[in-house]
């Protein structure tokens, strides 16, 4: 979540409410996955860690609001996150593509390619391991699960590539 919030701030300095709205839009019907206060808690943590700096901006008829901007350290962490191909959850990758495109940090199609190569390597490793095990071993069953998940993720990456190529 910290990485996602940082990447969203890479486009321009912003405040908690707007970041939350952008996350809601990106998640669509899955927005329930986000707790009400999650964005604010994350921003506070990032500020403590020196990844973002906050500035109070006065508003005419409402309390001040805090506008957050990336620090140099925060920018570095965003770059590291974009290049990281360790595969977590599809939701995180989806948000990575949206944030990268919005801030023009990286070409989403290239990020998909990079990720696809990594998953293809893992699929090859898992498959080769499965082929060397006896067909009826319990370990093959476990590998089959790994293989099926990677296969599904790769198909989904194809869909991601198609979506962003036509943008």
């Amino acid at each position: 979540m910290q990485d996602v919030v940082l990447a969203l701030l890479a486009k321009e300095p912003s405040h908690g409410y707007e970041l939350r709205a952008r996350l809601h839009e990106a998640l669509g019907p899955l927005r329930d996955a986000l707790n009400a206060g999650q964005v604010y808690v994350t921003l506070t943590r990032l500020e403590k860690a020196g990844m973002v700096s906050a500035e109070h901006v006065g508003q005419a008829d409402r309390p001040d609001r805090k506008v957050y901007a990336l620090t140099a350290e925060g920018q570095q962490r965003v770059r590291t996150w974009l290049a990281d191909v360790s595969w977590g959850r599809p939701t995180e990758f989806h948000l990575k593509l949206i944030a990268a495109a919005a801030a023009r940090l990286a070409d989403p199609v290239e990020l998909v390619d990079l990720q696809r190569r990594e998953l293809l390597r893992r699929l090859a490793d898992a498959q080769r391991a499965a082929l060397t095990e006896p067909e009826d071993s319990a370990a093959v069953l476990l590998l089959e699960g790994v293989i099926l998940r990677l296969e599904a993720d790769l198909r989904w990456l194809d869909a991601c590539a198609h979506h962003w190529e036509t943008k």
């Binding site: 390597r121 391991a129 198609h162």
Partner: protein, 242 residues
């Protein structure tokens, strides 16, 4: 050292405003014993590329070298000889002869190439055993499942001891169990050093290759080497994060 090589290979259809570059200046080198998978969205030109590499279609421009010979300059007669003797083809739709048994289908290209019938029969039987279908040798294609038919087609592709086997979406018509059997077969062919070029949209088939080439809009868009030794299999099981 390469067994199959494409240089600035190009294939165009139509003309003027309707001109389509199905294959656009492709350079490719395949080494002996290597398995290369070509992937990409449908319509990216990967099947056309395979047809050009196998001499099934003539390029608009560029060169195709097979074992040092220029396929793009050959006459039709020379080409069909090369296709019979040096190449093996596997297609999505199997293309078996319905009236012939599994063994007769496998024998056919060898007989056409002038191999004595006894030798052809012996080789066909050995190959059917090799693909796990020794007990189906006398069956007609109609009596075989899709996966079995494709394994017969692979045996047929191998009978001429081809330099290169070219496979076009070999699992496109198969369910996942049949795909797994074909997958094992390609995995063992690779291990035995058979040179293979496979066009596929199936990531599991692509993952059997040494190299995966991505095509987009007729051109090569990237290459991934699958040499193993990546992050280790332990990471795939996901125990370290719990």
């Amino acid at each position: 050292m390469t067994v199959l090589r494409a240089v600035r290979l190009r294939k165009e259809y139509g003309r003027d405003a309707g001109l389509v570059r199905a294959v656009d200046e492709v350079d490719l080198e395949v080494r002996p014993g290597e398995t290369v998978a070509v992937v990409g969205p449908s319509g990216c030109g990967k099947s056309t590329l395979l047809h050009l590499l196998g001499g099934l279609e003539r390029p608009t421009g560029g060169e195709v070298h097979l074992d040092g010979r220029r396929l793009d300059r050959m006459s039709e007669t020379q080409l069909s000889g090369v296709r019979r003797k040096s190449l093996g083809f596997v297609f999505q739709a199997f293309h078996l002869v319905d009236e012939l048994t599994a063994r007769e289908n496998v024998e056919l290209p060898a007989l056409l190439a002038g191999v004595p019938s006894r030798t052809a029969r012996r080789r066909a039987s050995a190959l059917l055993e090799r693909v796990g279908l020794a007990d189906r040798a006398g069956h007609l294609p109609a009596a075989l499942s899709g996966g079995q038919r494709q394994r017969v087609a692979v045996a047929r592709a191998l009978i001429g001891r081809p330099l290169v086997v070219l496979a076009d979406e070999p699992t496109g018509n198969l369910d996942s169990a049949a795909t797994a059997a074909v997958l094992r077969l390609f995995g063992s062919l690779r291990a035995e050093g058979q040179t293979l070029v496979i066009v596929t949209h199936d990531s599991r088939i692509a993952a059997t290759a040494d190299r995966v080439i991505t095509m987009r809009d007729g051109a090569l868009a990237g290459e991934t080497r699958l040499n193993g030794g990546g992050g280790g299999l332990g990471a795939l099981a996901g125990l370290e994060s719990s």
